[in-house]
Amino acid sequence: MTKKIYTKEEWTEALKGLANTYKIFVPVMEGDFHTFKALDEKKIPDLDFKNTQLSPKSLVYPQSERMFEYTLDENAPDANIIKESEKDYSPQAIVGIRPCDAHAFQIVKPNFDNPEYQDPWWIKRYESTTFVGLGCNDPGPTCFCTSVGGGPFSEKGLDVLLYDLGDTFLVKALTDKGETFLKKTQGGKEADEKALKAGEELAAGAADKIEVKVQTDRLKDKVQTELFDAPFWDDVAFACINCGICTYLCPTCWCFDIQDEVLGKQGDRIRNWDSCMFPLFTLHGSGHNPRSKKVQRVRQRFMHKFKYYVDKYNNGVQCSGCGRCVRNCPVNIDIREICELMNGFLHENQ
């Protein structure tokens, strides 16, 4: 696999040179936050960033996506016939994606792509995406990727990994997709032993900087129903205001809702992100709501991430440790603390 060295200026130029081959998404500072934007003449990619405020999940799984469309015009030959809407699957690359966010796509994958169900739109867009990661030299105080199967230089879910060596990037291809990407990327030179060693040392040092350790090893042994009835949920849920910040900012939350919207005679069937924090999420047509109480919804979010997912997929927890919900929860519900509570929970009979 290709290993190259680019000066930072060369790298930015090289990305611009890929414009005809890929749609390139890069972190850009907008207002108070970094956000992934399509690279164009006006955008200044800023790879000296912590992480983006919103996760890059929307680049594969848009917040709102038109699935189908139809006409209600009775005179039209195709009246009332639902047709798949045209979608853009042209190759794209997310450059500067953090290892936690790339790992998140692997966590989400069993939901959209499993032997039983294949979500065509998620899969096609995922396959058209090249994940060009940037290792974290300085993980933040709310980062806990090393507790959930990742790491600041984890290669999980990445096609290419960048090491920030100061003035240069060490760029390593990790998969065939990544190899193809680097073949098309101009400039740079072959990485020498010194650079490779510097990269290794950087990665080893970064993992040690993560001080937070969250226990997840005993979740699998817990009895679902006992954990469900654990006495701490009321206290955990009290402060929650049931907004969608945690779920919408989360790179591993995948739930959606499907809506038909009609304007005049034109109809669209749209898939929108949904949140288990919202009462509407589980409201039945009959009017019954199995999760009408806040505590039930809060419990659902954590049980899904740390118990149901664990039991169903045997693929670790449904959390990549990015820390967005920790930083942004307006009432400071800290997922690390809840995970510890769940992992350490002992039923009264135990």
Binding site: F33, Q63, N332
Partner: protein, 316 residues
């Protein structure tokens, strides 16, 4: 305002021990800097959880809606005005509450602080009188609290609670001669197209997480209009028109009720200055009806009175 903590704990202990309240609602120190957590305790053993500093930003009135027990609660100026609004709107009864009043010097704008240290990771914040110090791995900076107040706090003219059963300290001096509506006036001066562009741009980052609505103590409708499905008033996609409909309708629903507590703006994960919607309505309420929300229990809220002898012609 750190010195308030001891007094709050002492009062809560007394209330719980004497059985004057069933529960006490306050804040506890958060797990990340500048982010305290609303907390409910029901036992005097737990009072040491209670905490107060300049990072108690979320409006506690949210947690009163529909409660039937007797509640002790801490309240600064704006929170107390929301409690008044809650009482007059029949969401809670006055005699259920024991209000521990906080003379407030304002809440720190965590985003402004984050910007001031150039987005470096803050590991610790310490308050000392009128200043605070933030520390990170390789930096330490001290700021004046008054320079980093939430925008609503810097123009607040009701820092002291308007209603309380006990105060944790003597009243603080109210800010006078603040121009609370400078920004609103600027927008009022725009022509319609410019105004529309201003608001469209303002909300273009909105992800419809509804944190602004849910953090707002006024938004207690059992089913919000955006969640209605029969009929469905608003589309649920990220279509800008639907998003604008949500924000404008929500703002109008707060007309004459908003206390400018700033919770909506504080919680927005994408930094939308949501108060620009509600402030205009606050300004109108003040100018047209001499009304500020939540100042007294003796008057019905602005928009739920009808008087045949109203001095305004258009209403008769």
């Amino acid at each position: 305002m750190l010195e308030y903590t001891e007094k709050i704990r002492e009062t809560a202990r007394k209330l719980l021990e004497e059985g004057k309240v069933d529960v006490f609602i306050g804040y506890k120190k958060g797990s990340v800097p500048m982010m305290n957590q609303p907390v409910l305790i029901n036992n005097a053993d737990q009072v040491d959880l209670l905490h107060w500093d300049s990072n108690c930003g979320l409006n506690l009135c949210n947690y009163l809606t529909g409660r039937t027990d007797r509640i002790g609660i801490v309240a600064n100026g704006c929170n107390s005005r929301n409690i008044v609004t809650h009482i007059t709107e029949n969401q809670i009864k006055r005699d259920q509450l024991y209000i521990v009043g906080i003379p407030c010097k304002g809440i720190i704008d965590h985003r402004a602080v984050q910007m001031a240290v150039k987005q470096k990771e803050i590991l610790e914040i310490k308050e000392q009188g009128d200043t605070f110090t933030v520390k990170g791995k390789d930096f330490e900076e001290t700021f004046n609290i008054k320079d980093y107040l939430q925008r609503n706090c810097s123009v607040c003219t009701h820092r002291n609670p308007v209603i309380s059963d006990e105060m944790v300290a003597p009243p603080v001096e109210e800010q006078i001669e603040v121009d609370a509506y400078k920004d609103v006036k600027e927008i009022e001066g725009m022509d319609p197209d410019k105004k529309w562009n201003f608001f469209t741009r303002m909300i273009d980052k909105c992800i419809r997480c509804y944190a602004c609505r849910n953090a707002c103590p006024l938004c207690y409708c059992p089913t919000c209009f955006v969640d209605e499905s029969k009929p469905q008033w608003v589309g649920k996609s990220s279509d800008p028109i639907d998003t604008m409909t949500f924000h404008i309708l929500r703002a109008y629903h707060c007309a004459g009720r908003c206390t400018d507590c700033g919770a909506c703006e504080r919680v927005c994960p994408v930094g939308i200055p949501i108060r620009q919607f509600t402030k205009k309505l606050n300004k109108d309420a003040q100018e047209l009806f001499s009304w500020e929300a939540g100042l007294t229990l003796d008057q019905r809220p602005l928009l739920d009175v009808f008087r045949p002898d109203d001095y305004n012609d258009f209403i008769r």
